[in-house]
Each structure stands twice: as C-alpha cells, then as structure tokens.
C-alpha cells in the first residue's frame, strides 16, 4: 500500500528540484549571454573578475538578509546575476563606445578590482568564501511557518 504523505512529499520535492533546475538553466543562459556580450574587452579575463566580485557582494547581502528573516532569500540565483550586472555595467557602456573612467569604480570597483594581487584567482577564493558563508548561514537558520504560508510558496 502507498504511503500517501511520503509519496506526496517525494512528488513535492521532485517538483521543487525541477523548478530549481529551470532557474539554474536560466541563470547559466544569462551568464553565457553576458560572456558573449564582451565585444569591447577580453571576455576570458573580465567576465571572471566581475562575476566573482558581483556574485560575492550579492552572496554577502543574501547571507545578511537570510539571517535576519530566518529563511533563505527568494530567487537566490537572481541576486548574483544582478551583482554581476552592476559590476560589469561599465563594460556594457564600453561596448556602446564609452571608454572607462576612474569614477566607474562606483560599480563594485570595476577598474581597481582587476588589479587585486593574485588577480582572478584571488577573486575566485573570495567568491568561494562568500558562497561558503551564505551556505553556512542557510545551514543554521530554522523558522516554523504557518501551513497557509507554505501553501503560498
């Protein structure tokens, strides 16, 4: 005989995993598009710097928000993409014919972050630390939710 609650939970978990996969695919597609958008710069180097910097900043903010609300942030894949877009915004301007200027460091240190000692390897490690921090926060939060609220998710 089928264990109904267990079956429903499995179906629900599978649906949630599929939804997450779709979000992951969408996020990967967006990042590939951003990589290909580098006409004005060497994408191999610049994409990595701004992805690591933007995503790291986003992950730190996500960790604070998650900790405060005692629940993971909604749409967790959108935050790093937004961080990346902010960090690389001067490169979008460059592709439109506007050269970089010093003030563009307001976009998450767009110019100076390239000159970090260790270059992209350092930013890779910073990203891993930020990701680890966010995941550690997720691992520590618990919040009881009303059933009605769960139904709305």
């Amino acid at each position: 005989m089928t264990d109904q609650p267990s079956y429903r939970r499995r179906v629900s978990d599978t649906a949630a995993a599929l939804r997450l996969c779709l979000w992951c695919l969408l996020a990967v597609a967006v990042e590939i598009a951003l990589f290909l958008s580098y006409r004005g710069h060497d994408s191999r180097f610049h994409w990595f710097t701004h992805f690591f910097v933007g995503a790291s900043a986003a992950l730190l903010i996500m960790a604070v928000v998650a900790w405060r609300q005692r629940w993971p942030v909604r749409y967790p894949l959108i935050w790093p993409i937004l961080g990346h877009l902010i960090a690389m915004f001067p490169d979008i301007l460059f592709a439109q014919g506007i050269a970089h200027q010093r003030w563009m460091d307001v976009f998450l240190g767009h110019l100076n972050t390239h000159f970090m000692p260790g270059r992209n390897l350092t930013w890779y490690l910073v990203f891993l630390a930020a990701l680890g921090f966010y995941l550690a926060v997720l691992g520590r939060i618990r919040r009881p939710l009303p059933a009605a609220a769960l139904g709305a998710r």
């Binding site: 990595f48 050269a99 890779y124 990203f127 891993l128 990701l131 997720l138 691992g139 939060i141």
Partner: protein, 174 residues
C-alpha cells in the same frame, strides 16, 4: 497548525559549494590555458579600456616626421608581418579620425595613408610602453597618442583588426 520546514542543510549545501568550486575553478583554468603567446602575461593590463593607466601618460617619440604631430591625435599600431594584411584592411575600412602609423619588425608594403615603419629591434614599442608578450617576441598591439603628443593608452592586442571600434572608443575618450 504549524509545520516546521527547514532550508536545505548538510550534504546538500556542501554539494552546492563543491559543484560551483570545481565548475568555476575548471573554467578559470581553461581561460588561463586559452591565453596565447601574444597576450599580456598580466591580463589586467591587456585592453583595460581606460586612459592613463600608469606609467602613462608619457611623451610620444616620433615614429615618422609627421606622426605624431601637435594638434592631431595619432594611433600607432604594432604588428607582425603575418598580421599586416588583416590590420591594413581593417584600418582602411575603419576610418579612424587620427593619424595612423603601422610599425612592423621588417619593412612591409604600403597601407593607404598610414605611415609604415620598420623597427627590427623593437625599440619603438618599448618607448610607447607596450609590454612584452607572454611568449616573448615583438609586441602586437597599439598605442593612442593625444594632440599634445602624449601616449595615453597602450595595450597588447593580437586581435586588433577584429575590433577596431575599440580603438575609435579610446580615441573618442581623449
């Protein structure tokens, strides 16, 4: 009634971290391996897109009698004999609003109105602050000189001919 629903924990979180660490680490490694011998060993200095990156600006030494000259910006391309045809075609089609000189290690054919200069010893590239390519040999790239005959931008760029709009962008920023 309340139901306690937990965010993912334990092995799932570690798996997410590991997948991203390995995946992005592998991509970073591939990007490093993909760099060619004519690229700058310090990628931060290749096509940075900003004027006056130290040690610039510096005085531009004459490449010819008329390039560079006061009152008119100039672009000095440094290229190899193998890349000369492609660069020449791009420069002809590119309509740069500047005087143009093309420096090659050996004397080459003419290229429209661009001044052609042979520099076997590579001294000009050094005075224009072009860095040595990762694989050694003569640098391939370009320098942008302003109307006051100062070098404001210099970068290695083995693929200049494919994106000459970038040179126009840097000229417009002077």
């Amino acid at each position: 009634m309340t139901i306690t629903r937990h965010p993912p924990t334990g092995r799932g979180l570690v798996a997410v971290w590991l997948v991203l660490a390995v995946g992005l680490g592998a991509l970073l490694l591939v990007a490093g391996v993909a760099e060619g011998p004519l690229d700058d060993a310090d990628q931060a200095r290749q096509r940075p897109g900003v004027l006056d990156l130290a040690p610039l600006p510096t005085s531009a030494v004459p490449v010819t009698d008329s390039v560079p000259r006061s009152g008119r910006p100039a672009v000095v391309f440094f290229t190899s004999s193998e890349r000369l045809d492609g660069l020449c075609a791009a420069v002809r089609a590119g309509e740069l609003d500047a005087d143009v000189a093309i420096v090659t290690p050996a004397a080459g054919p003419t290229c429209g109105t661009a001044a052609m200069v042979a520099d076997p010893a590579g001294r000009l590239a050094a005075t224009y602050q072009l860095r040595q390519p990762d694989g050694g040999g003569p640098p391939v790239g370009y320098a942008v000189v302003d109307a006051q005959r100062r070098v404001r931008y210099a970068t290695l760029d083995p693929t200049t001919a494919e994106h000459l709009f970038e040179v126009r962008t840097m000229l417009a920023a002077l």
